[in-house]
Amino acid sequence: MRHLKKDIIPPLQESRWSHIWAGFLGDKLATLSLAILVFYCLVAIFAPLLAPYNINSPNFMDLTNAEIAPSWISGDERFLLGTDDQGRDMLSVVLYGTRLSLTIGICAVLIQITLGICIGLISGYLGGRIDNFLMRCADIQLSFSTMMVAIVFLAVFQALFGMDMYQQLAMIMLILVIGLAEWPLFARTIRASVLAEKQKEYVDAARIMGISPKRIMFKHILPNTLTPVLVIFTVQISNAIVAEAALSFLGLGMPASDPSLGALISVGFNYMFSGSWWICIIPSLTLIILILVMNMLGDWLRDHLNPKTYRD
Protein backbone atom coordinates (compact mmCIF):
# COMPACT_ATOMS: atom_id res chain seq x y z
CA MET A 1 0.00 0.00 0.00
CA ARG A 2 2.99 2.29 0.54
CA HIS A 3 3.38 2.20 -3.15
CA LEU A 4 -0.24 3.14 -3.70
CA LYS A 5 -0.17 6.03 -1.30
CA LYS A 6 2.68 7.49 -3.31
CA ASP A 7 0.43 7.39 -6.33
CA ILE A 8 -2.52 8.99 -4.68
CA ILE A 9 -1.46 11.37 -1.98
CA PRO A 10 1.10 13.74 -3.54
CA PRO A 11 -1.17 15.57 -5.96
CA LEU A 12 -3.47 16.39 -3.09
CA GLN A 13 -0.74 17.67 -0.80
CA GLU A 14 -1.55 21.36 -0.61
CA SER A 15 0.29 22.87 2.25
CA ARG A 16 1.54 20.43 4.79
CA TRP A 17 1.29 22.89 7.63
CA SER A 18 -2.27 23.94 7.00
CA HIS A 19 -3.08 20.27 6.75
CA ILE A 20 -1.47 19.53 10.09
CA TRP A 21 -3.15 22.52 11.66
CA ALA A 22 -6.54 21.27 10.48
CA GLY A 23 -5.76 17.86 11.99
CA PHE A 24 -4.72 19.55 15.20
CA LEU A 25 -7.98 21.41 15.56
CA GLY A 26 -9.80 18.14 14.97
CA ASP A 27 -8.10 16.57 17.98
CA LYS A 28 -9.91 17.82 21.08
CA LEU A 29 -7.25 16.76 23.56
CA ALA A 30 -4.51 18.50 21.60
CA THR A 31 -6.56 21.67 21.24
CA LEU A 32 -7.34 21.67 24.95
CA SER A 33 -3.64 21.17 25.74
CA LEU A 34 -2.64 24.07 23.56
CA ALA A 35 -5.32 26.28 25.11
CA ILE A 36 -4.05 25.48 28.59
CA LEU A 37 -0.46 26.09 27.55
CA VAL A 38 -1.38 29.45 26.02
CA PHE A 39 -3.20 30.29 29.27
CA TYR A 40 -0.06 29.43 31.26
CA CYS A 41 2.10 31.56 29.01
CA LEU A 42 -0.26 34.53 29.24
CA VAL A 43 -0.42 34.19 33.00
CA ALA A 44 3.36 34.02 33.18
CA ILE A 45 3.81 37.09 31.00
CA PHE A 46 1.22 39.18 32.83
CA ALA A 47 1.96 37.88 36.33
CA PRO A 48 2.86 41.37 37.66
CA LEU A 49 -0.53 42.68 36.49
CA LEU A 50 -2.59 39.70 37.57
CA ALA A 51 -1.12 39.08 40.98
CA PRO A 52 -3.20 40.65 43.75
CA TYR A 53 -0.04 41.52 45.73
CA ASN A 54 3.32 42.82 44.67
CA ILE A 55 5.78 40.23 45.86
CA ASN A 56 8.63 42.73 45.84
CA SER A 57 7.00 45.11 48.31
CA PRO A 58 8.32 44.86 51.87
CA ASN A 59 4.77 44.43 53.22
CA PHE A 60 4.22 41.31 51.20
CA MET A 61 5.63 39.05 53.85
CA ASP A 62 3.56 39.28 56.97
CA LEU A 63 3.97 36.53 59.50
CA THR A 64 0.67 37.43 61.15
CA ASN A 65 -1.08 36.12 58.06
CA ALA A 66 0.89 32.88 57.93
CA GLU A 67 -0.77 29.62 56.95
CA ILE A 68 -4.26 30.89 56.18
CA ALA A 69 -6.23 28.24 54.31
CA PRO A 70 -7.72 28.96 50.83
CA SER A 71 -10.70 31.29 50.93
CA TRP A 72 -13.31 28.56 50.33
CA ILE A 73 -12.18 26.92 53.58
CA SER A 74 -11.13 29.82 55.78
CA GLY A 75 -13.56 32.33 54.33
CA ASP A 76 -10.76 34.88 54.27
CA GLU A 77 -11.53 36.98 51.20
CA ARG A 78 -8.09 38.57 51.07
CA PHE A 79 -6.25 35.43 50.05
CA LEU A 80 -7.98 33.37 47.34
CA LEU A 81 -5.60 30.44 47.61
CA GLY A 82 -4.51 31.05 51.16
CA THR A 83 -1.05 32.01 52.36
CA ASP A 84 2.19 30.15 52.98
CA ASP A 85 4.30 29.78 56.09
CA GLN A 86 5.59 33.33 55.81
CA GLY A 87 2.24 34.91 55.17
CA ARG A 88 2.68 35.39 51.45
CA ASP A 89 -0.39 35.22 49.23
CA MET A 90 -0.27 31.80 47.51
CA LEU A 91 -1.92 33.06 44.30
CA SER A 92 0.70 35.76 43.78
CA VAL A 93 3.56 33.43 44.66
CA VAL A 94 2.33 30.70 42.31
CA LEU A 95 1.85 33.20 39.47
CA TYR A 96 5.39 34.46 39.85
CA GLY A 97 6.67 30.92 40.34
CA THR A 98 5.10 29.80 37.07
CA ARG A 99 6.66 32.78 35.34
CA LEU A 100 10.07 31.87 36.73
CA SER A 101 9.80 28.16 35.94
CA LEU A 102 8.72 28.81 32.35
CA THR A 103 11.47 31.39 31.85
CA ILE A 104 14.12 29.02 33.13
CA GLY A 105 12.73 26.15 31.07
CA ILE A 106 12.51 28.09 27.81
CA CYS A 107 15.88 29.84 28.20
CA ALA A 108 17.63 26.58 29.06
CA VAL A 109 16.15 24.89 26.01
CA LEU A 110 17.10 27.84 23.82
CA ILE A 111 20.70 27.32 24.91
CA GLN A 112 20.34 23.61 24.17
CA ILE A 113 18.92 24.32 20.72
CA THR A 114 21.55 26.87 19.76
CA LEU A 115 24.37 24.57 20.77
CA GLY A 116 22.64 21.52 19.33
CA ILE A 117 21.94 23.11 15.95
CA CYS A 118 25.48 24.44 15.51
CA ILE A 119 27.18 21.26 16.62
CA GLY A 120 24.74 18.97 14.82
CA LEU A 121 25.00 20.89 11.54
CA ILE A 122 28.78 21.05 11.61
CA SER A 123 29.09 17.44 12.64
CA GLY A 124 26.65 16.15 10.03
CA TYR A 125 27.69 18.36 7.16
CA LEU A 126 31.45 18.20 7.51
CA GLY A 127 31.64 14.61 8.70
CA GLY A 128 34.96 12.81 9.16
CA ARG A 129 37.15 13.53 12.16
CA ILE A 130 35.22 16.60 13.33
CA ASP A 131 32.05 14.56 13.35
CA ASN A 132 33.75 11.77 15.27
CA PHE A 133 35.17 14.16 17.84
CA LEU A 134 31.93 16.06 18.42
CA MET A 135 29.82 12.95 18.66
CA ARG A 136 32.20 11.35 21.18
CA CYS A 137 31.92 14.55 23.23
CA ALA A 138 28.15 14.15 23.06
CA ASP A 139 28.46 10.54 24.19
CA ILE A 140 30.56 11.54 27.18
CA GLN A 141 28.11 14.30 28.07
CA LEU A 142 25.19 11.89 27.82
CA SER A 143 26.90 9.28 29.97
CA PHE A 144 26.60 11.62 32.96
CA SER A 145 23.07 12.12 34.13
CA THR A 146 21.90 15.71 33.91
CA MET A 147 20.88 15.78 37.55
CA MET A 148 24.26 14.54 38.70
CA VAL A 149 26.15 17.15 36.74
CA ALA A 150 23.82 19.87 37.92
CA ILE A 151 23.97 18.83 41.57
CA VAL A 152 27.75 18.60 41.62
CA PHE A 153 28.17 21.85 39.74
CA LEU A 154 25.69 23.85 41.81
CA ALA A 155 26.96 22.42 45.09
CA VAL A 156 30.55 23.32 44.23
CA PHE A 157 29.44 26.78 43.17
CA GLN A 158 27.57 27.30 46.44
CA ALA A 159 30.56 26.15 48.45
CA LEU A 160 33.02 28.32 46.53
CA PHE A 161 31.14 31.61 46.29
CA GLY A 162 28.90 31.41 49.31
CA MET A 163 25.15 31.59 49.68
CA ASP A 164 24.65 35.30 48.98
CA MET A 165 26.39 35.29 45.65
CA TYR A 166 24.58 32.08 44.78
CA GLN A 167 21.16 33.49 45.53
CA GLN A 168 21.81 36.46 43.26
CA LEU A 169 22.98 34.34 40.35
CA ALA A 170 20.71 31.32 40.94
CA MET A 171 18.49 31.84 37.89
CA ILE A 172 21.34 32.32 35.42
CA MET A 173 23.23 29.39 36.88
CA LEU A 174 20.19 27.11 36.58
CA ILE A 175 19.63 28.13 32.97
CA LEU A 176 23.27 27.54 32.10
CA VAL A 177 23.57 24.21 33.88
CA ILE A 178 20.35 22.75 32.48
CA GLY A 179 21.05 24.26 29.07
CA LEU A 180 24.57 22.92 28.80
CA ALA A 181 23.76 19.50 30.15
CA GLU A 182 21.34 18.39 27.45
CA TRP A 183 22.59 19.77 24.12
CA PRO A 184 23.59 16.31 22.79
CA LEU A 185 19.95 15.36 22.30
CA PHE A 186 19.43 18.20 19.83
CA ALA A 187 22.84 17.78 18.26
CA ARG A 188 22.20 14.13 17.52
CA THR A 189 18.74 14.70 16.12
CA ILE A 190 19.95 17.50 13.88
CA ARG A 191 22.97 15.48 12.79
CA ALA A 192 20.79 12.52 11.81
CA SER A 193 18.51 14.74 9.73
CA VAL A 194 21.48 16.55 8.18
CA LEU A 195 23.00 13.24 7.14
CA ALA A 196 19.76 12.34 5.41
CA GLU A 197 19.31 15.76 3.80
CA LYS A 198 22.94 15.95 2.69
CA GLN A 199 22.34 13.00 0.35
CA LYS A 200 19.61 14.87 -1.47
CA GLU A 201 20.37 16.41 -4.79
CA TYR A 202 19.35 19.94 -3.93
CA VAL A 203 22.42 20.17 -1.69
CA ASP A 204 24.62 19.08 -4.60
CA ALA A 205 22.87 21.62 -6.79
CA ALA A 206 23.67 24.37 -4.29
CA ARG A 207 27.30 23.24 -4.10
CA ILE A 208 27.56 23.30 -7.87
CA MET A 209 26.32 26.88 -7.81
CA GLY A 210 29.35 27.64 -5.65
CA ILE A 211 27.34 28.58 -2.57
CA SER A 212 29.44 28.57 0.60
CA PRO A 213 29.17 25.67 3.04
CA LYS A 214 27.97 28.00 5.78
CA ARG A 215 25.09 29.25 3.67
CA ILE A 216 24.23 25.73 2.50
CA MET A 217 24.15 24.53 6.10
CA PHE A 218 21.98 27.30 7.50
CA LYS A 219 19.91 28.35 4.52
CA HIS A 220 19.36 25.09 2.67
CA ILE A 221 19.73 22.20 5.09
CA LEU A 222 18.65 23.66 8.41
CA PRO A 223 15.04 24.55 7.43
CA ASN A 224 14.56 20.96 6.32
CA THR A 225 15.70 19.51 9.63
CA LEU A 226 13.58 21.58 11.97
CA THR A 227 10.53 19.34 12.13
CA PRO A 228 11.98 16.81 14.60
CA VAL A 229 13.55 19.68 16.53
CA LEU A 230 10.12 21.16 17.13
CA VAL A 231 8.99 17.89 18.70
CA ILE A 232 11.98 17.64 21.00
CA PHE A 233 11.64 21.31 21.83
CA THR A 234 8.29 20.90 23.59
CA VAL A 235 9.35 17.78 25.42
CA GLN A 236 12.65 19.33 26.46
CA ILE A 237 10.99 22.42 27.91
CA SER A 238 8.93 20.24 30.20
CA ASN A 239 12.07 18.25 31.06
CA ALA A 240 13.94 21.44 31.86
CA ILE A 241 11.11 22.67 34.08
CA VAL A 242 11.06 19.36 35.91
CA ALA A 243 14.86 19.45 36.28
CA GLU A 244 14.68 22.94 37.71
CA ALA A 245 11.89 21.91 40.08
CA ALA A 246 13.86 18.89 41.22
CA LEU A 247 16.99 20.95 41.84
CA SER A 248 15.00 23.56 43.72
CA PHE A 249 13.34 20.84 45.75
CA LEU A 250 16.79 19.59 46.73
CA GLY A 251 17.74 23.10 47.80
CA LEU A 252 20.06 23.72 44.88
CA GLY A 253 17.67 25.81 42.85
CA MET A 254 15.92 29.09 43.33
CA PRO A 255 16.11 30.65 46.81
CA ALA A 256 12.98 30.81 49.00
CA SER A 257 12.91 34.60 48.63
CA ASP A 258 12.44 34.33 44.89
CA PRO A 259 10.69 30.99 44.54
CA SER A 260 10.01 28.96 41.41
CA LEU A 261 7.35 26.26 41.45
CA GLY A 262 9.94 23.69 42.56
CA ALA A 263 11.11 25.86 45.44
CA LEU A 264 7.50 26.40 46.53
CA ILE A 265 6.83 22.67 46.57
CA SER A 266 10.02 22.15 48.53
CA VAL A 267 8.97 24.65 51.21
CA GLY A 268 5.40 23.42 51.28
CA PHE A 269 6.48 19.83 51.68
CA ASN A 270 7.53 20.58 55.28
CA TYR A 271 3.93 21.58 56.10
CA MET A 272 2.35 18.73 54.22
CA PHE A 273 1.45 16.73 57.31
CA SER A 274 0.91 19.64 59.66
CA GLY A 275 -2.43 20.53 58.14
CA SER A 276 -1.31 23.28 55.77
CA TRP A 277 -1.46 21.03 52.72
CA TRP A 278 -2.28 23.81 50.29
CA ILE A 279 1.22 25.26 50.52
CA CYS A 280 2.51 22.15 48.79
CA ILE A 281 -0.48 20.95 46.76
CA ILE A 282 -1.30 24.16 44.89
CA PRO A 283 2.15 24.65 43.27
CA SER A 284 2.37 20.89 42.69
CA LEU A 285 -0.88 20.84 40.74
CA THR A 286 0.21 23.87 38.76
CA LEU A 287 3.44 22.13 37.84
CA ILE A 288 1.81 18.79 37.03
CA ILE A 289 -0.77 20.32 34.71
CA LEU A 290 1.92 22.34 32.94
CA ILE A 291 4.13 19.29 32.37
CA LEU A 292 1.22 17.10 31.34
CA VAL A 293 0.04 19.62 28.77
CA MET A 294 3.49 20.07 27.30
CA ASN A 295 4.11 16.36 27.04
CA MET A 296 0.75 15.87 25.38
CA LEU A 297 1.58 18.48 22.79
CA GLY A 298 4.99 16.91 22.31
CA ASP A 299 3.46 13.49 21.76
CA TRP A 300 0.93 14.86 19.35
CA LEU A 301 3.60 16.65 17.37
CA ARG A 302 5.80 13.56 17.34
CA ASP A 303 2.98 11.41 16.01
CA HIS A 304 1.99 13.84 13.33
CA LEU A 305 5.26 15.41 12.21
CA ASN A 306 7.42 12.33 12.05
CA PRO A 307 7.60 11.59 8.35
CA LYS A 308 7.59 7.89 9.09
CA THR A 309 4.30 7.94 10.90
CA TYR A 310 2.96 10.86 8.88
CA ARG A 311 -0.35 9.85 7.42
CA ASP A 312 -3.07 11.99 6.01
Binding site: M1, H3, L4, I8, I9, L12, H19
Partner: protein, 333 residues
Protein backbone atom coordinates in the same frame (compact mmCIF):
# COMPACT_ATOMS: atom_id res chain seq x y z
CA UNK B 1 -14.39 -19.56 -19.75
CA UNK B 2 -13.29 -16.40 -18.03
CA UNK B 3 -10.85 -16.93 -15.22
CA UNK B 4 -11.17 -13.42 -13.91
CA UNK B 5 -13.78 -10.88 -14.83
CA UNK B 6 -13.90 -7.33 -13.58
CA UNK B 7 -17.18 -5.54 -14.17
CA UNK B 8 -17.90 -1.83 -13.79
CA UNK B 9 -15.39 -1.47 -11.00
CA UNK B 10 -15.39 1.86 -9.18
CA UNK B 11 -12.74 2.56 -6.57
CA UNK B 12 -12.84 5.77 -4.58
CA UNK B 13 -10.50 7.45 -2.16
CA UNK B 14 -11.95 9.37 0.71
CA UNK B 15 -9.48 12.14 1.39
CA UNK B 16 -10.09 15.23 3.48
CA UNK B 17 -13.83 15.00 3.22
CA UNK B 18 -13.71 14.62 -0.54
CA UNK B 19 -14.75 11.43 -2.27
CA UNK B 20 -12.35 11.11 -5.17
CA UNK B 21 -12.76 8.52 -7.89
CA UNK B 22 -9.52 6.65 -8.58
CA UNK B 23 -11.03 4.01 -10.84
CA UNK B 24 -14.15 4.65 -12.85
CA UNK B 25 -16.14 1.96 -14.55
CA UNK B 26 -13.31 -0.45 -15.28
CA UNK B 27 -14.26 -3.73 -16.93
CA UNK B 28 -12.17 -6.45 -18.48
CA UNK B 29 -11.81 -10.22 -18.52
CA UNK B 30 -8.80 -12.46 -18.26
CA UNK B 31 -8.83 -16.02 -19.59
CA UNK B 32 -6.76 -18.93 -18.39
CA UNK B 33 -3.20 -18.63 -19.66
CA UNK B 34 -3.81 -15.23 -21.20
CA UNK B 35 -1.34 -12.35 -20.86
CA UNK B 36 -2.82 -8.88 -20.56
CA UNK B 37 -0.95 -5.63 -20.09
CA UNK B 38 -2.32 -2.55 -18.40
CA UNK B 39 -0.55 0.53 -19.71
CA UNK B 40 -0.71 4.06 -18.41
CA UNK B 41 1.29 6.81 -16.82
CA UNK B 42 1.63 7.35 -13.10
CA UNK B 43 -1.68 8.44 -11.68
CA UNK B 44 -3.68 6.55 -14.27
CA UNK B 45 -4.85 4.12 -11.60
CA UNK B 46 -3.18 1.01 -12.97
CA UNK B 47 -1.56 0.02 -9.68
CA UNK B 48 -4.81 0.62 -7.83
CA UNK B 49 -6.50 -1.73 -10.26
CA UNK B 50 -3.87 -4.39 -9.48
CA UNK B 51 -4.41 -3.99 -5.76
CA UNK B 52 -8.20 -3.97 -5.96
CA UNK B 53 -8.25 -7.29 -7.81
CA UNK B 54 -6.94 -8.98 -4.67
CA UNK B 55 -9.03 -6.63 -2.52
CA UNK B 56 -5.95 -5.04 -0.98
CA UNK B 57 -7.19 -1.45 -1.11
CA UNK B 58 -6.59 0.11 2.28
CA UNK B 59 -8.13 3.17 3.80
CA UNK B 60 -8.74 5.85 2.67
CA UNK B 61 -9.53 3.88 -0.47
CA UNK B 62 -12.51 1.57 -0.90
CA UNK B 63 -14.32 -0.35 -3.63
CA UNK B 64 -17.41 1.68 -4.24
CA UNK B 65 -19.24 -0.59 -6.63
CA UNK B 66 -18.74 -3.20 -9.30
CA UNK B 67 -17.71 -6.79 -9.14
CA UNK B 68 -14.52 -8.80 -9.43
CA UNK B 69 -15.18 -12.47 -10.09
CA UNK B 70 -12.58 -15.18 -9.93
CA UNK B 71 -14.23 -18.19 -11.59
CA UNK B 72 -17.66 -16.92 -10.56
CA UNK B 73 -16.59 -16.30 -6.97
CA UNK B 74 -17.05 -12.70 -5.97
CA UNK B 75 -13.87 -11.26 -4.50
CA UNK B 76 -15.25 -7.95 -3.29
CA UNK B 77 -17.47 -9.60 -0.70
CA UNK B 78 -15.18 -12.43 0.35
CA UNK B 79 -14.39 -13.13 3.97
CA UNK B 80 -10.82 -12.33 5.03
CA UNK B 81 -9.99 -16.03 5.37
CA UNK B 82 -11.10 -16.91 1.88
CA UNK B 83 -9.33 -13.84 0.57
CA UNK B 84 -6.12 -15.01 2.18
CA UNK B 85 -6.46 -18.25 0.29
CA UNK B 86 -7.11 -16.45 -2.98
CA UNK B 87 -4.10 -14.21 -2.51
CA UNK B 88 -1.74 -17.04 -1.76
CA UNK B 89 -2.83 -19.82 -4.04
CA UNK B 90 -4.88 -18.36 -6.84
CA UNK B 91 -3.44 -14.89 -7.45
CA UNK B 92 0.19 -13.96 -6.82
CA UNK B 93 1.69 -10.50 -6.99
CA UNK B 94 5.13 -9.35 -8.12
CA UNK B 95 6.06 -5.78 -7.26
CA UNK B 96 8.57 -3.31 -8.64
CA UNK B 97 10.51 -3.50 -5.40
CA UNK B 98 11.17 -7.14 -4.48
CA UNK B 99 11.85 -6.07 -0.91
CA UNK B 100 8.12 -5.44 -0.50
CA UNK B 101 7.66 -9.21 -0.58
CA UNK B 102 10.95 -10.51 0.80
CA UNK B 103 11.59 -10.42 4.51
CA UNK B 104 14.99 -8.79 5.03
CA UNK B 105 15.82 -10.73 8.20
CA UNK B 106 15.20 -14.24 6.83
CA UNK B 107 17.41 -16.10 4.38
CA UNK B 108 16.14 -16.77 0.87
CA UNK B 109 15.99 -20.46 1.75
CA UNK B 110 13.92 -19.94 4.88
CA UNK B 111 11.36 -17.92 2.93
CA UNK B 112 11.09 -20.49 0.17
CA UNK B 113 10.79 -23.39 2.59
CA UNK B 114 8.13 -21.53 4.51
CA UNK B 115 6.17 -21.00 1.31
CA UNK B 116 6.38 -24.71 0.48
CA UNK B 117 5.51 -25.97 3.93
CA UNK B 118 2.60 -23.56 4.30
CA UNK B 119 0.54 -25.66 1.93
CA UNK B 120 2.14 -29.10 1.85
CA UNK B 121 3.25 -31.10 4.86
CA UNK B 122 6.75 -32.27 4.05
CA UNK B 123 10.04 -32.44 5.89
CA UNK B 124 12.50 -29.57 5.88
CA UNK B 125 14.94 -31.60 3.83
CA UNK B 126 12.44 -32.33 1.08
CA UNK B 127 11.27 -28.74 1.10
CA UNK B 128 14.88 -27.64 0.76
CA UNK B 129 15.34 -29.84 -2.27
CA UNK B 130 12.23 -28.46 -3.92
CA UNK B 131 13.32 -24.91 -3.12
CA UNK B 132 16.74 -25.42 -4.68
CA UNK B 133 15.17 -26.99 -7.70
CA UNK B 134 12.88 -23.97 -8.10
CA UNK B 135 15.78 -21.56 -7.70
CA UNK B 136 17.49 -23.50 -10.42
CA UNK B 137 14.46 -23.29 -12.65
CA UNK B 138 14.43 -19.48 -12.43
CA UNK B 139 18.04 -19.57 -13.64
CA UNK B 140 19.78 -18.62 -10.44
CA UNK B 141 23.40 -19.77 -10.60
CA UNK B 142 24.63 -21.87 -7.65
CA UNK B 143 21.26 -22.10 -5.84
CA UNK B 144 22.78 -24.00 -2.88
CA UNK B 145 24.86 -20.95 -2.07
CA UNK B 146 21.97 -18.53 -2.57
CA UNK B 147 19.74 -20.65 -0.36
CA UNK B 148 21.61 -19.48 2.73
CA UNK B 149 21.97 -15.83 1.72
CA UNK B 150 19.90 -12.88 2.85
CA UNK B 151 17.93 -10.74 0.39
CA UNK B 152 20.30 -7.77 0.75
CA UNK B 153 23.19 -9.91 -0.48
CA UNK B 154 21.50 -10.39 -3.85
CA UNK B 155 21.29 -7.97 -6.75
CA UNK B 156 17.94 -6.52 -7.84
CA UNK B 157 17.57 -8.94 -10.74
CA UNK B 158 18.39 -11.91 -8.52
CA UNK B 159 15.79 -10.83 -5.94
CA UNK B 160 13.16 -10.57 -8.63
CA UNK B 161 14.07 -14.12 -9.68
CA UNK B 162 13.62 -15.31 -6.10
CA UNK B 163 10.18 -13.73 -6.07
CA UNK B 164 9.34 -15.55 -9.26
CA UNK B 165 10.56 -18.79 -7.66
CA UNK B 166 8.20 -18.20 -4.73
CA UNK B 167 5.37 -17.48 -7.15
CA UNK B 168 6.17 -20.72 -8.97
CA UNK B 169 5.94 -22.64 -5.70
CA UNK B 170 2.50 -21.28 -5.00
CA UNK B 171 1.50 -22.22 -8.54
CA UNK B 172 -1.26 -19.60 -8.85
CA UNK B 173 -3.71 -19.21 -11.72
CA UNK B 174 -2.96 -15.52 -12.13
CA UNK B 175 0.21 -13.48 -11.67
CA UNK B 176 -0.21 -9.76 -11.24
CA UNK B 177 3.14 -8.15 -12.03
CA UNK B 178 3.24 -4.46 -11.09
CA UNK B 179 6.13 -2.85 -12.98
CA UNK B 180 8.33 -5.89 -12.31
CA UNK B 181 11.33 -4.65 -14.29
CA UNK B 182 11.20 -0.89 -13.88
CA UNK B 183 14.01 -0.82 -11.31
CA UNK B 184 16.26 -3.13 -13.32
CA UNK B 185 18.90 -2.60 -15.96
CA UNK B 186 18.05 -3.26 -19.60
CA UNK B 187 19.97 -6.51 -19.96
CA UNK B 188 18.55 -7.87 -16.70
CA UNK B 189 15.09 -6.60 -17.64
CA UNK B 190 15.20 -8.57 -20.87
CA UNK B 191 16.04 -11.74 -18.95
CA UNK B 192 13.34 -11.29 -16.32
CA UNK B 193 10.73 -10.57 -18.99
CA UNK B 194 11.75 -13.71 -20.85
CA UNK B 195 11.60 -15.71 -17.62
CA UNK B 196 8.13 -14.42 -16.82
CA UNK B 197 6.95 -15.27 -20.30
CA UNK B 198 8.41 -18.77 -20.09
CA UNK B 199 6.88 -19.65 -16.75
CA UNK B 200 3.48 -18.33 -17.78
CA UNK B 201 3.58 -20.39 -20.96
CA UNK B 202 4.89 -23.54 -19.30
CA UNK B 203 2.42 -23.51 -16.41
CA UNK B 204 -0.45 -21.91 -18.34
CA UNK B 205 -0.69 -19.12 -15.82
CA UNK B 206 -2.49 -15.91 -16.70
CA UNK B 207 -0.44 -12.74 -16.42
CA UNK B 208 -1.65 -9.25 -15.71
CA UNK B 209 1.32 -7.01 -16.45
CA UNK B 210 1.11 -3.46 -15.18
CA UNK B 211 3.65 -1.31 -16.97
CA UNK B 212 4.36 2.07 -18.48
CA UNK B 213 6.90 0.67 -20.92
CA UNK B 214 5.26 -0.03 -24.26
CA UNK B 215 8.33 -1.91 -25.44
CA UNK B 216 8.06 -4.42 -22.61
CA UNK B 217 4.33 -4.69 -23.13
CA UNK B 218 4.67 -5.46 -26.82
CA UNK B 219 7.06 -8.28 -25.98
CA UNK B 220 4.87 -9.89 -23.35
CA UNK B 221 1.18 -9.27 -23.68
CA UNK B 222 -1.43 -10.63 -26.03
CA UNK B 223 -3.93 -7.95 -25.19
CA UNK B 224 -3.36 -4.41 -23.95
CA UNK B 225 -5.57 -2.16 -21.89
CA UNK B 226 -4.67 1.54 -21.96
CA UNK B 227 -5.75 3.56 -18.93
CA UNK B 228 -6.00 7.29 -18.47
CA UNK B 229 -7.12 9.16 -15.35
CA UNK B 230 -8.83 6.14 -13.80
CA UNK B 231 -10.62 4.95 -16.90
CA UNK B 232 -9.92 2.43 -19.60
CA UNK B 233 -9.63 4.37 -22.84
CA UNK B 234 -8.63 1.64 -25.25
CA UNK B 235 -8.49 -2.10 -25.24
CA UNK B 236 -7.42 -4.52 -27.90
CA UNK B 237 -4.84 -7.03 -29.13
CA UNK B 238 -1.36 -5.65 -28.34
CA UNK B 239 -0.17 -5.55 -31.92
CA UNK B 240 -3.31 -3.72 -32.96
CA UNK B 241 -3.05 -1.17 -30.17
CA UNK B 242 0.59 -0.47 -30.91
CA UNK B 243 0.50 -0.47 -34.68
CA UNK B 244 -2.88 1.16 -35.14
CA UNK B 245 -3.76 3.12 -31.98
CA UNK B 246 -7.26 4.57 -32.06
CA UNK B 247 -7.53 6.77 -28.99
CA UNK B 248 -5.69 10.10 -29.22
CA UNK B 249 -4.01 9.37 -25.88
CA UNK B 250 -2.61 6.05 -27.06
CA UNK B 251 -1.47 7.76 -30.23
CA UNK B 252 0.22 10.50 -28.24
CA UNK B 253 1.87 8.02 -25.91
CA UNK B 254 3.32 6.07 -28.80
CA UNK B 255 4.34 9.12 -30.77
CA UNK B 256 6.17 10.52 -27.76
CA UNK B 257 8.64 7.64 -27.81
CA UNK B 258 12.08 8.72 -29.03
CA UNK B 259 12.18 5.98 -31.65
CA UNK B 260 9.11 7.51 -33.33
CA UNK B 261 10.94 10.71 -34.26
CA UNK B 262 13.92 11.23 -36.55
CA UNK B 263 17.20 11.53 -34.64
CA UNK B 264 17.89 15.09 -33.61
CA UNK B 265 14.33 16.22 -34.34
CA UNK B 266 11.84 17.33 -31.72
CA UNK B 267 9.72 14.59 -30.23
CA UNK B 268 5.96 14.64 -30.62
CA UNK B 269 4.97 15.54 -27.09
CA UNK B 270 1.55 15.50 -25.48
CA UNK B 271 0.92 18.89 -23.94
CA UNK B 272 0.27 19.23 -20.21
CA UNK B 273 0.06 16.67 -17.45
CA UNK B 274 -2.30 13.97 -16.32
CA UNK B 275 -4.91 15.67 -14.11
CA UNK B 276 -4.62 14.65 -10.47
CA UNK B 277 -7.46 12.97 -8.61
CA UNK B 278 -9.04 16.15 -7.33
CA UNK B 279 -8.96 18.10 -10.57
CA UNK B 280 -10.35 15.63 -13.06
CA UNK B 281 -12.30 17.55 -15.69
CA UNK B 282 -15.85 16.88 -16.78
CA UNK B 283 -16.51 14.93 -19.95
CA UNK B 284 -13.66 12.98 -21.42
CA UNK B 285 -10.72 13.32 -18.99
CA UNK B 286 -8.26 13.64 -21.84
CA UNK B 287 -9.98 16.59 -23.52
CA UNK B 288 -7.63 19.22 -22.04
CA UNK B 289 -4.64 17.57 -23.71
CA UNK B 290 -6.37 16.25 -26.81
CA UNK B 291 -5.71 17.93 -30.17
CA UNK B 292 -9.11 16.79 -31.50
CA UNK B 293 -11.25 17.85 -28.54
CA UNK B 294 -14.67 19.29 -29.32
CA UNK B 295 -17.37 20.81 -27.10
CA UNK B 296 -19.01 17.43 -26.86
CA UNK B 297 -15.79 15.95 -25.42
CA UNK B 298 -15.73 18.64 -22.75
CA UNK B 299 -19.25 17.83 -21.59
CA UNK B 300 -19.90 14.13 -22.05
CA UNK B 301 -18.05 10.98 -21.26
CA UNK B 302 -17.75 8.82 -24.41
CA UNK B 303 -18.94 5.21 -24.29
CA UNK B 304 -16.96 2.27 -25.53
CA UNK B 305 -17.26 1.57 -29.18
CA UNK B 306 -15.98 -1.32 -31.21
CA UNK B 307 -13.43 -0.21 -33.77
CA UNK B 308 -12.07 -3.16 -35.67
CA UNK B 309 -10.79 -5.59 -33.05
CA UNK B 310 -10.22 -2.92 -30.43
CA UNK B 311 -12.71 -1.06 -28.30
CA UNK B 312 -12.19 2.65 -27.73
CA UNK B 313 -13.86 5.35 -25.68
CA UNK B 314 -13.58 8.40 -27.91
CA UNK B 315 -16.12 10.58 -29.73
CA UNK B 316 -13.76 11.24 -32.59
CA UNK B 317 -13.42 7.53 -33.36
CA UNK B 318 -17.19 7.14 -32.91
CA UNK B 319 -17.85 9.91 -35.46
CA UNK B 320 -15.44 8.44 -37.90
CA UNK B 321 -17.10 5.06 -37.69
CA UNK B 322 -20.63 6.42 -38.10
CA UNK B 323 -19.51 8.53 -41.06
CA UNK B 324 -17.88 5.51 -42.58
CA UNK B 325 -21.01 3.43 -42.08
CA UNK B 326 -23.18 6.16 -43.55
CA UNK B 327 -20.93 6.33 -46.59
CA UNK B 328 -21.02 2.61 -47.13
CA UNK B 329 -24.82 2.65 -46.62
CA UNK B 330 -25.19 5.36 -49.25
CA UNK B 331 -22.97 3.47 -51.62
CA UNK B 332 -24.94 0.26 -51.18
CA UNK B 333 -28.14 2.19 -51.88
Amino acid sequence: MNLLSVNNLHVNFHIKGQDLAALIDVSFTLNRGERIAIVGESGAGKSILGFSIVNLIDKPGYIKSGSIKLQNKEITTMTPRLLQEVRGKRIAMIFQDPMMTLNPVLTIGAQLVEAIRSHTRISFKDARNIAIEKLHSVQIASPEKRFNQYPHELSGGMRQRVIIAIVLLLNPDIIIADEPTTALDVTIQAEIIQLLLDICRDNSMALLLISHDLGVVSRVAERTIVMYAGRVVEEGPTLEVINDPQHPYTQGLLNALPQMALPGQRLNQIQGNMPSLNERPTGCAFHSRCPYATDKCRQQQPDFIQSGVSSVACFMVENMITEFEQNTDEESL
